[in-house]
C-alpha cells in the first residue's frame, strides 16, 4: 500500500486533535488550560543548538547543556505566573501568537499507553506594531493516555536556529 492510500489511523487523528487544541490554547494565552494538558511528570526541553562539525562526538545538543527550556511542571507553572502577572509590562498590549503545527507522524512508544509523535512547529509573534522573526522547530513528543485523555508527558523541540533570532521566548513552542 502506497503512502497516499494509507488510511488516517485513530492514533494519528487523536494526536493531531491534541496538538491542534494545544496550539489554539497557546495562541489564546489560555495557559492554565494548556498546563492541564501536561502530565505531572512532564519534561519540556528546548535545548540550545550549537554549530559543531559533523565529526564532533559531542553533537549539537545534549542533556546538561544550556537550554531555552529544560523544565518540569513546577518550572512551567512559574513561567505562567510571569506570563499572566499584571506587572508583566511587556505583555501589554498582548502578543499575537500563531502556533502552526504540521508534518504530524505517530509511532508506537516504549509504553503501551503512550504515543511517540513527531511534528513541526512554526511560531509567529506579532508584538505591538511589529513582528518577531518566525521560529521553526522540530518536535518529538510523547503523549500518554491518562484516564482516557491524551496528555503531554515529554516534549523535545530542536530549533532550526543557532542564535535565537529574537530577544526572548515569551511563549511555549
Amino acid at each position: 500500500m502506497g503512502a497516499g492510500e494509507r488510511p488516517v489511523s485513530a492514533e494519528l487523528a487523536a494526536a493531531e486533535r491534541f496538538l491542534f487544541l494545544e496550539a489554539r490554547l497557546l495562541d489564546a494565552e489560555r495557559y492554565d488550560e494548556w498546563l492541564a494538558l501536561l502530565t505531572d511528570d512532564v519534561h519540556y526541553w528546548v535545548p540550545g543548538v550549537e554549530n559543531r562539525n559533523r565529526t564532533d562526538a559531542e553533537g549539537p545538543f545534549a542533556p546538561g547543556r544550556m537550554a531555552h527550556f529544560d523544565d518540569g511542571w513546577t518550572d512551567l507553572q512559574r513561567r505562567i505566573v510571569r506570563f499572566t502577572s499584571e506587572t508583566a509590562w511587556s505583555e501589554n498590549p498582548p502578543t499575537r501568537h500563531v502556533h502552526v503545527v504540521s508534518n504530524v507522524e505517530v509511532e508506537p512508544a516504549e509504553r503501551e499507553d503512550e504515543l511517540l509523535v513527531h511534528s513541526l512547529t512554526v511560531v509567529h509573534r506579532g508584538r505591538y506594531e511589529a513582528s518577531d522573526e518566525a521560529l521553526y522547530g522540530r518536535r518529538e513528543d510523547v503523549l500518554r493516555r491518562v484516564e482516557g485523555e491524551l496528555r503531554l508527558a515529554r516534549r523535545r523541540v530542536i530549533l532550526a536556529h543557532n542564535v535565537l533570532p529574537s530577544k526572548n521566548l515569551n511563549t511555549f513552542l
Binding site: 540550545g48 550549537e50 562539525n53 518550572d75 505566573v81 510571569r82 502577572s85 508584538r127 542564535v163 521566548l169
Partner: protein, 429 residues
C-alpha cells in the same frame, strides 16, 4: 548633518547623554575602531578550552576570531578569515581540531594560526618570494588571562590586562577567586539577538539597580512569590574603575534568591564565614547580593545568578547576547545543575527576568529613529552628589546603588576612548 565630537554628546557634570550615541552609524563605526579594536575584550573562559586542540569562535567587535589551545597548551586568538581571499576558515562555534582549513582553496592553518599548506601547493612553491610564514591568520596583538578569564586586544599599545582592569580585579576576585579550585563555565552558551544598541545593555548591567524592582516585578513574583525588595535606604554602593562598573547592596543572597531554590541560597549562607576569612566581611556579603556589573566595554555579569554574558555589537541597532553560567569547579554536581537551571529560568532569552529587559532596550533604541526624538537629551543625573570616600572599597565609590554614577562613568570612559588617538592619551580613571 554632522555630529558634534563625542565629548559634546556626554555631559558627566550635569548628567545628560545625547540620544544619537545609540543610533548614529558614524559613531558606531568609530566605536568599532576606537573601543572594540583597542580595548581588552573577553574572548573565553579557560574551562572552554580544556585540552590541546580545543577551540571556539567568537567576535571582537565585528571581527570574528578563533580562540584555540595549541599543542603546546598555549591559548592564542587570531582572525577567522583566510588571508588568501578572506573566507571564514572555521564555521563551528566550538569543538576540537588539529587545525583549520579554508573551504575555498584549501589553505590550511595550525592551531597556532600559522599557514601549513594548501590545495595545489606546488604552484605556490614555484612562486618567487612566496613565504608561508607571512600568510598565517592574523594574531591578536595581546592575549592574557585573569583568573581563568581570557581577554584579548587588537592594540599592541593597550596597557597590560592587569592595568586595564586595575583595582576592578579586587571586585572580580569575589566571583573568580572565592575558592581554591577556581571557576568554570557549565553547559555551554545560549545566544540571541536583541534589536538594541549594545551600550543600552552594557549600561544596564553597569549600574541600573533602579529598573530591577520595576521591570522585573513579574519575574520576581514568578520565582520567589514576592516583589524585589525596596532598595532605597539600604546600605548599598556603586563603584567603578576605568569604566568597569559594579553596583551592589550587601544582602548576601538577594540575586541568588531569584532562582527560588533554597539549596543555592543556603550554600552561600553556609559559606559566609569562610568567604569573610578569604575576602573580608564586606566583599563576602557581595557574593550573591542584589547587584550587577560590566567590564568595559561589553562583558557583564550578575553575582548570585552567576550569568556571564557579552553584548556583541551587530550594527548600531542590534546586539548579540551570548550567555554562560559561571560556577566554582569544586561545587557539587547538584549545585552546578541548580545554577544551570537557575540561569535558564531567570536570565536567558526564555528567562522570566531577561524577557522584560529586551523589550525595554529595543524601544529605548528604536525610538531614536525619530529626528526630533533623538535631538532630545536623556537624564543621567541620579546621584550627582553621591561620591564618597570609603575606608575599604576601591576605585570611585558612590553612596546608594540607586544611582546613575556608574552609567556616567561608563560614558565618560566611552567618550575618552572615542576622543583619544592612541592609548597614550587615555588616563586611568
Amino acid at each position: 548633518m554632522s555630529l558634534p565630537p563625542p565629548a559634546a554628546l556626554v555631559d558627566v557634570e550635569r548628567g545628560t547623554v545625547d540620544r544619537r550615541i545609540f543610533w548614529e552609524r558614524e559613531l558606531y563605526e568609530r566605536e568599532l575602531e576606537r573601543i572594540f579594536a583597542r580595548c581588552w575584550l573577553f574572548v573565553a573562559h579557560e574551562s572552554q578550552l580544556p585540552e590541546p586542540g580545543s577551540f571556539l569562535t567568537t567576535t571582537m567587535g565585528e571581527d570574528n576570531v578563533i580562540v584555540a589551545r595549541g599543542r603546546d597548551g598555549v591559548i592564542r586568538a587570531f582572525l577567522n578569515s583566510c588571508p588568501h581571499r578572506g573566507n571564514r576558515v572555521c564555521h563551528a562555534e566550538r569543538g576540537t581540531a588539529r587545525g583549520f582549513v579554508c573551504n575555498y582553496h584549501g589553505w590550511s592553518f595550525g592551531l597556532d594560526g600559522a599557514l601549513r599548506g594548501m590545495h595545489e601547493s606546488g604552484a605556490y612553491e614555484r612562486t618567487p618570494g612566496f613565504d608561508p610564514a607571512e600568510h598565517g591568520l592574523l594574531q591578536v596583538a595581546q592575549i592574557d588571562a585573569y583568573k581563568g578569564f581570557v581577554f584579548a586586544t587588537f592594540d599592541a599599545e593597550a596597557p597590560p590586562l592587569a592595568d586595564y582592569l586595575g583595582d576592578f580585579r579586587w571586585y572580580l576576585d569575589i566571583l573568580l577567586d572565592n575558592d581554591d579550585g577556581g571557576t568554570e563555565f557549565v553547559g555551554g552558551c545560549i545566544r540571541s539577538v536583541i534589536a538594541c544598541n549594545w551600550k543600552v545593555a552594557a549600561e544596564n548591567f553597569a549600574g541600573d539597580a533602579l529598573h530591577a524592582g520595576w521591570t522585573h516585578d513579574s519575574g520576581a513574583r514568578a520565582m520567589g512569590g514576592a516583589s524585589v525588595p525596596t532598595l532605597d535606604g539600604q546600605e548599598s554602593y556603586q563603584v567603578n574603575v576605568n569604566g568597569h562598573c559594579w553596583e551592589f547592596n550587601l544582602d548576601l543572597v538577594g540575586n541568588a534568591a531569584t532562582f527560588g531554590d533554597k539549596r543555592v541560597t543556603k550554600n552561600l549562607r553556609v559559606r559566609e564565614q569562610e568567604l569573610a576569612e578569604r575576602l573580608g566581611p564586606l566583599r563576602a556579603r557581595m557574593i550573591g547580593a542584589i547587584s550587577s556589573a560590566t567590564v568595559f566595554p561589553n562583558m557583564s555579569f550578575l553575582p548570585g545568578q552567576q550569568t556571564f554574558r557579552t553584548w556583541q555589537p551587530k550594527g548600531p541597532h542590534h546586539t548579540q547576547l551570548d550567555t554562560w553560567v559561571l560556577v566554582n569547579r569544586s561545587l557539587s554536581d547538584e549545585l552546578k545543575e541548580a545554577y544551570r537551571k537557575g540561569v535558564m529560568m531567570t536570565f536567558s532569552p526564555s528567562g522570566v527576568f531577561e524577557m522584560d529587559d529586551g523589550e525595554n532596550w529595543e524601544y529605548s533604541t528604536r525610538s531614536n529613529a525619530g529626528v526630533v526624538t533623538r535631538a532630545q537629551k536623556l537624564h543621567y543625573g541620579l546621584g550627582l552628589d553621591s561620591r564618597i570616600e570609603h575606608p575599604e572599597l576601591k576605585g570611585n565609590v558612590f553612596r546608594s546603588q540607586l544611582n546613575d554614577a556608574n552609567a556616567r562613568a561608563f560614558y565618560a570612559r566611552w567618550t575618552q576612548l572615542l576622543e583619544a588617538d592612541s592609548w597614550a592619551q587615555v588616563n586611568d580613571r
